[in-house]
Amino acid sequence: MTKHFIGERIKRNEDPRLLTGQALFVDDVEIPGMLHAAFKRSDYAHARILSIDVSTARERPGVVAIFTAQDMGEDWMPGPPLVSPPPTVKDVTFHSRRQAPLVKDIVRHAGETVAVVIAENRYIAEDAVEDILVEYEPLPVVTDLEQALAPDSPKVHDDLDSNLAAHMYQQKGDYESAKARADTIIKRRFYIDRGAAVAMENRGIIANWDEKSKQLTMWDTTQAPIPIRNGTAARLGLSDSQVRVIAPFVGGGFGPKIMMFYPEEMLLPWASKKLCRPIKWIEDRRENFYATTSERQQLHDVEMALTRDGHILGLKDDFLHDTGAFDPYGLTIPLNTQSHLMGSYVIENFSSNCTAVFTNKPIVTPVRGAGRQQGIFIIERMLDIACKELGIDPLEIRRKNFIPPDAFPYHNVIIDQAFSELIFDSGNYKAVFKKTLQMIDYERFVKEEQPRLRSKGKLVGIAIVPFIETTGVGPYEGARVQIETSGKVNVSTGYGTQGQGHFTSFAQIVSEQLGVAVKDVHIITGDTAEFHWGTGSFASRGAVVVGNAVHAAASSVRKKVLKQASKVLATPEDELELEDGLVRVADIPAKSISLGELAALANPLRGAVEPGTEPGLEATDYFGPQSGTTASGCHAMILEVDPETMMVDIKRYAVVEDCGKVLNPLIVEGQVHGGVSMGLGNAFYEKLQFDENGQILNASLADYLIVTSFEMPPHIETGHFETLSPLNKLGTKGVGEAGAIPVPALFAQALENAFQGRDLEILETPLSPNRLFELLQESRTTKEKSQ
């Protein structure tokens, strides 16, 4: 086979539909007789519901039904736990508390659903929501992590002794003995605050229970259609085959859409079954801030033990993690944080206590990075601080401590989010680092340009931050590949797509095996009627897990094709090649048969299909990796700060990405760019601002600042480096979250570098121009320090 598809910059199959407004998103679905839902949400973050008066609301013309928790009777139940606490970590404490479709008695975060109105259209439904009178008894609110653990703190769940949601301890080696041997101990406290995913499309659900066929069809902006199908069937006492969940085109996921059994997701199918009518709910932007999950708040007390020449002997990090009012997602985020605290380095002694805390705030579940960002922020900041204390060059200290390329697979001993040991499969961190330094022209900038610009009074800073990223975790995904009699190929998988280009990247994998043009491979994702088994898109696993399942299925089909073609063309298999939709005999191009014809022959109308074979040219395969693969990369940046406004102008930005075998460079670059834009938000522009009453003070895009074209660097230069993963046949690793992970650490380093004349030390993220100004006021010049 001469033509290659994997690794090519192939234009996306899905684009023409998306570009012409012909792609179906959830809100585009119209069903005759469809009703519309709107939710009454609590303004209070913590309150007892004394009464709910829906009488006026019911009178409004066009209102079909109003439900409260009481109306659900015995059908009312909280959502299921989505991820259990890791069974492989000893002595984990975990109190599982989950959200409910409608609040029964106590509201635990602002925005919780108290009642739902079902009406003829959304306008009427919203009017009726305003007619509903709820009497609350406000209760004291707790939002701060340390305060939440104080003995006199208001309790989010009063059946528990405290707001401790979970506790987990992990260790590697023996930190205390490392500390005893160290020449220097560095101790710092870090504070990381919440950000929201803000996908351009808000959530939406349509539930359509058809009483006559006893079928429930749901359209949902979920990243996990199959678990939604399974859970919804279970909740309603239906069999899986009676429920179909479709995640059509989804306008961005970024994590919160993998949170499952949101209150609205539990309510709508129940209500549809009760009313025997299709019901649609589309979240509006303000609801999204409260009702869709967010992430990142943690408070870390960190200690690093080093030798005087900069070797890291040990790292200790005890941290608090905000889980919000409920914890359906287990300890995934803190496990990711712990897995990334050691970064790309050899750290033989590690100790970490994690305490997850309940607060009266919306639920915390993964947002792009899912806890990895926090880990990388800490380790890279600690190294920057160590450099200053030890008088070592920041590049040198990293080079000294990198895991060397011959040390793989590298065992990090602690448990990761997949509940197995954190093992880095392959990588070459030094080489990636070196390449990044070259791309940003580091030496020349530091030696020549920076001094020159500084002499003109410019505040310019340069930074470089390497990182690792655990990706491609199990449990598994599957795919079915089928060659149709038209010669086109159909591929189905239970996975979903929210813009990652699956319709193209998966097609490329098939094309590579079957020699069919990418445009002739039709991929179906996100429809449980098409494929029954799978988990969902999270943890940068699509390319690895689905990709390899597709690869396996396509390879199986290829074997069938060769076997059959060999018979039909009376030629041994090893003399056949697949190209341009044909099976050809090498060197005798006239002797060929199209895949379509072969498919027809494989499904005869007469004669028999031989025992031990299957009709058609189809195969289903699964891929279940034992452990995830470890991608890595490095970001570098040059920025300039305006001394009066504290606004930042990024002059140059370079990224080297090692995601193993690259399936489509265009798509990988796109993921990196998008990740960087979110990372920049998390570093300097985005912060979900809560007040002490649990109110979000910036719940609109006017106040929650998403990066625009102006805040981005003029051009992100991307370089690739490939260390293939030995864990899967494609050798590929994930890259979906990579762009976002190192950015806050990078930003902090660059700002400190820009203000080199001062003892500015950045121990928090996100910053903002205001906050930077405040920190500068608190810092002193080196001259003042020595006085």
Partner: protein, 152 residues
Amino acid sequence: MKLKGEYTFDASREEVWKIFRDPDVLMMALPGTKSLKQIGENDYEGELQVHIGPIAGSFGGKLTVSNEVPPESLTLTVEGNGKIGFVKGAGDVILINQGDTRTTIQYSGEIQIGGRVASVGQRLFDSVSKSMIDQGLNKLNGILQDRTAVHK
């Protein structure tokens, strides 16, 4: 959100004190007040229409007077909610005698808002509440001046 300020009335302390306990006058003065009724010795109930940035709506709620040391000081506590959110706050007011026809009040308190008005209007809340208080105090002063004029 902290509220703090000072205002000088052209009236005696006793006159100013009386006005703070007169719901009909207060209703005329505070911008947006749709109703204000005394329902107990120290309790009032009312409805206030507000416009903060893109949010417009009304709060229904209670106002309670406490810690009275006539005519020197008192504490006002307010608690209300409506379709646009909720509000609760408390403030201390001190009346300082500046002469027969001058009194300075000093107020200091805290107000908390929640719901839609907090998420979307928070940025403007400071300036809007200041302006509402200023308008209200000016209007009250006008009424006091008229009364003093009448008495003369």
